[in-house]
């Protein structure tokens, strides 16, 4: 509707310039009028529902007020109020007056043009500039669109409504599609699978000690000692966060021979190089005693 008003206003403004004529007034503002239009925010106002008439004028000069602007007599409309704004800029001054009115009867209303008396700044001649006239079709409750122009307006309104409905439906469908895509992309929660408790693998401590012994005999270095130490620590259930003192507090490490072995492996793992060979030999000897 706003688009309609703007387009029609522009066209009608051109008409206004064409119909303007010289007047005889003596003390008029010297203006270069580039626009004078009359528009409404709706072409089909409804009975008892306020709407707006908008007068827009543009002049090239920077002025604070338009002195000789005459508004038409609005005999078929009730005037509820008006608001004026004058905006001066580098390109000139734009005057805008918004008149709030309400219709009490249905049918076509023709509003006479707005006129502006001014001296044309370009040639010094006095002119009465005139805007377009405006025809509105006031619709009452249950009023049938019978006139030919009313029928066209009604058809336009119907098409607009259908188009709006179609757009809303397309929008809703798009949102639903987007949500569906997002849900599909989100990783689905892992299915809860109840597994049977793992069958504990109870390794023979003797086998683990033999494994540690084999490791240490194959590699009589500090690295070999650390691997053997790891095997024995794992055998007694030690975690990575436990030191030897923690391991010795474990019930599985209560055996005196095992405690001596753990200490021997600790020595082999951390002693100085001069003592390393003796420490590894001591650990092997302890392992042999326990695997015999």
């Amino acid at each position: 509707m706003a688009l309609f008003s703007r387009t029609s206003a522009l066209i009608l403004a051109l008409v206004a310039f064409a119909t303007g004529g010289p007047i005889d007034a003596q003390s008029l503002q010297r203006l270069t009028v580039t626009q004078l239009t009359l528009s409404a925010d709706t072409a089909t106002p409804k009975i008892e529902i306020p709407f707006h008439l908008i007068v827009t004028a543009h002049v090239r000069e920077r002025i604070s007020e338009l002195d000789n602007l005459d508004l038409p007599i609005l005999a078929e409309l009730e005037l509820l109020g008006s608001e004026r704004t004058t905006v001066a800029s580098r390109g000139g001054t734009t005057y805008r007056e918004t008149i709030t009115v309400v219709a009490h009867h249905s049918g076509a209303i023709t509003i006479a043009p707005v006129t502006l008396d001014a001296t044309d700044a370009r040639n010094g001649r006095n002119f009465r500039y005139s805007s377009n006239a405006l025809t509105l079709h006031v619709q009452g409750p249950g009023t049938a669109i019978v006139a030919a122009s009313d029928a066209w307006q009604g058809l336009r309104a119907l098409l607009g409504a259908v188009l709006r409905l179609a757009l809303i439906l397309v929008g809703v469908a798009g949102i639903i599609l987007l949500i569906a895509v997002l849900i599909r992309r989100r990783p689905l929660p892992a299915p809860v699978v109840t597994l049977a408790p793992p069958v504990p693998v109870v390794r023979d401590p003797g086998a683990q000690l033999r494994e540690a012994l084999g490791e240490l005999e194959r590699d009589r270095t500090r690295a070999g000692a650390m691997r053997a130490r790891h095997i024995v620590r794992r055998m007694v259930g030690a975690t990575d966060a436990e030191t030897l003192a923690d391991v010795l507090r474990r019930p599985l490490a209560s055996d005196l021979q095992l405690r001596d072995l753990l200490r021997a492996l600790e020595r082999a793992g951390f002693t100085h190089n001069a003592d390393l060979t003796a420490a590894i030999a001591a650990a092997i000897a302890q392992l042999e005693r326990m695997t015999r």
Binding site: R222, M226, A241, E242, T243, A245, E266, F270
Partner: protein, 309 residues
């Protein structure tokens, strides 16, 4: 004197005088073996002074006690020069800091200027009085106490100053059995005077031995991880982590601990035992955590996160 028995002989001598407080006794010896200074925090009446005096007695060393007060001056600690009218010359009067074992009682009662004078002497192991510089005796160990209960009129030690202490020991109350033993032992007689069990030369020898204790590469990495986790854990209770001085402190303390256990190599147990002593006072804990005693819990939690080699 059986000096060949090693530092354990001093431990046994101290245990004859002090009931319980194993942590305090071990901490004092660790400080002695590392040439480091010890900060003791705990309520009054927990034998902190007795432990320090007994250590000096056991080593045949000189013991001095300085009670820190708000009106103490630096010259009251390091000494001063006075004019001798008879000789018509200035003579130096050495302060109480010239001793083998110095107890700085309630260090947080003195203003920052006095604290700085003491801490500078601790770091430099020498003091300058007038134009002359005087080396402090060797061994020289300062044991400073702080009273956490009475914060009225105290000057809290800044973290930078706390960093100069090798370790901090939180002194706790004795158990019921220990308290009963204290009652039976000291109710009538005063605390017995300890006969010297070692010499200062022996202490210097033990220090050299501690210095040579083997610290394996895996343990060095373990120590680094323990310190780094205090900085990188992003723990909500920690404002800032420990400095590299903590790394050196843990390494030295672990070596000393191994020597106390009569080993010439350190093991993970040594590192983990001494780590809280070296870290607790070097970490910037939030006020709330620090005040409700949660610092120890947070530190234990962080240490437990680092895998033992």
């Amino acid at each position: 004197m059986n000096e060949r028995a090693g530092p354990a002989i001093v431990t046994r001598a101290l245990e004859r005088t002090i009931v319980g407080q194993q942590g305090v006794i071990e901490g004092l010896l660790l400080g002695l073996l590392c040439s480091g200074h010890v900060l003791l925090e705990g309520p009054p009446g927990l034998a902190k002074t007795l432990a320090c005096r007994s250590l000096a007695d056991a080593l045949h060393g000189e013991f001095k006690r300085i009670q820190f007060t708000p009106d103490l001056l630096p010259s009251d600690i390091v000494g001063t020069r006075i004019f001798d009218q008879r000789e018509s010359a200035f003579t130096t009067v050495r302060g109480p800091i010239f001793a083998n074992v110095v107890l700085a009682d309630e260090i947080n009662r003195a203003p920052a200027k006095v604290q700085s004078a003491l801490l500078e002497a601790m770091q430099e192991r020498q003091v300058t009085i007038g134009p002359q510089t005087h080396p402090l005796p060797d061994p020289f160990i300062v044991m400073a106490t702080m009273n956490p209960l009475d914060s009225e009129g105290t000057y809290a030690l800044p973290v930078a100053q706390m960093d100069r202490f090798l370790l901090k020991i939180d002194v706790g109350y004795p158990s019921r059995a220990e308290e009963l033993a204290i009652l039976e032992r000291f109710a009538i007689a005063d605390a017995p005077v300890i006969a010297p069990v070692a010499t200062l030369d022996a202490v210097r020898e033990w220090r050299a031995l501690a210095h040579n204790v083997h610290l394996d590469e895996a343990l060095k990495r373990y120590i680094v991880e323990l310190v780094v986790i205090t900085r990188e854990a992003q723990h909500p209770a920690i404002d800032f982590g420990a400095s590299p001085r903590a790394t050196l402190a843990i390494a030295n303390l672990a070596r000393a601990k191994a020597l106390l256990e009569q080993r010439d190599y350190a093991v993970p147990d040594d590192v983990r035992t001494v780590a809280p002593l070296a870290l607790r006072h070097r970490i910037g804990f939030n006020f709330r955590v620090a005040s409700d005693g949660g610092a120890t819990r947070v530190l234990d939690e962080l240490i437990a996160r680092v895998p033992v080699p």
